[in-house]
Amino acid sequence: MTGAWSWWQGGLALAGISLLHWLWRGRMLAVSGRFTALLRRRRISVDDELAAELARATAEAFPDAPPVTPPRRRWHGTEHLLFLLALIAGGGFAQAFVPAPMELEPSWPVLLAGGLLVGAGTRMAGGCTSGHGLSGVSRFQPGSLVTIAATFASGIVTAWLLGAP
C-alpha cells in the first residue's frame, strides 16, 4: 500500500470521519474554529470579568434578590490544542508509513503571505475547508456555499497567475 489514496478511498474516509465526529462529539467537524477559539481566549475571560462585575453590582442594588450567578462560558482550549496536535501526529504517522517525496515550493515570503491570507480569510468567513466545505456544503448552508465557491474561484485564479515554482 504505497502512494496516494484514490478519489473514492479518500472521499469515503473523509465522509466517515465527518460522521464519526458528529456521532462522537455531537458537533460538526470544523477546524479553523479551533484556531480561533484558542486565539480568542483573552476576550472570553474579559467577558467573564464583566459578568462577575455585573452580578456584584446587581447584588448591591437589590440586596433582597436571590444571588445572580452569571452563566460561564467554558473555554475548551485543551481540547482544541489536543485536536490540532493530533492532526500533526496523524499526518506524521502517514508520512513515516509512506514517505512523500520532498517537493519544490515557492519562496518563504510567498508562503508567509499565503498563510496570512488563509488565517485572515478563514477567521473572516468563520470557517475553512472542513467546517464550511465538508460540514456546511453537505447541508447546503448558503454562507458555506458562498465561502467555498469564492475560495475555489480565487484559488484557481491565483494558482494560474502564480505558476509552478
Partner: protein, 139 residues
C-alpha cells in the same frame, strides 16, 4: 478528550494519505490539471448530504447543527482564503497534517496563518465589528 485525539489523528492521517498535504498536489487541483482532489472532496460532500438526510430522519432531536445564513464576509473571506491557499498550499487543517512532510515551509505557513487569524480578529474587534459567528459550534 480521547474522541478528540482519535478524531484529530484519523483526520490528519487521511489527509496525508490523500496527499492533500502537498503543495504540488494542491497546485494541480487549483490549475485543474488533476481533478483527483476535487473528486475526493465532491464524493465526501455527496455522501455526507445523504448521511445527514438519513440522520435528520432517524434522530431529528439530536441533529441540530448550526445554520449558516449568507453574509458578505463569507464572500470576502472566501476570496482571501482561496488566494492564500493557492499561494501557501495549505488550508488550516492540512498546514498541520503536512507538518511532517513539509517541515520548515509548513512552519512558515502556520506562523502566517495564526498571525492572520489573530490580526483580522483584532482589527475586527477594534473597528469593523462584523459578526464572528463560525460555521461550527466550537467555543
Amino acid at each position: 478528550m480521547i474522541p478528540t485525539v482519535v478524531l484529530g489523528a484519523l483526520f490528519g492521517y487521511v489527509l496525508a494519505r490523500i496527499r492533500f498535504t502537498s503543495w504540488h498536489e494542491v497546485h494541480l487541483m487549483f490549475t485543474l490539471r488533476d481533478l483527483r482532489l476535487v473528486a475526493t472532496f465532491a464524493l465526501a460532500v455527496l455522501l455526507l448530504a445523504g448521511i445527514w438526510r438519513l440522520v435528520a430522519r432517524v434522530a431529528p432531536a439530536r441533529f441540530t447543527p448550526p445554520r449558516v445564513p449568507f453574509e458578505p464576509r463569507h464572500l470576502l473571506g472566501g476570496l482571501l482564503f482561496g488566494a492564500g491557499w493557492a499561494l501557501s498550499g495549505a488550508c488550516p487543517t492540512i498546514a498541520l497534517a503536512g507538518l511532517a512532510q513539509r517541515r520548515a515551509s509548513a512552519v512558515i505557513v502556520l506562523v502566517g496563518l495564526v498571525a492572520g487569524n489573530w490580526l483580522w480578529g483584532a482589527l475586527n474587534d477594534r473597528w469593523l465589528k462584523w459578526s464572528q459567528q463560525g460555521c461550527g459550534t466550537e467555543d
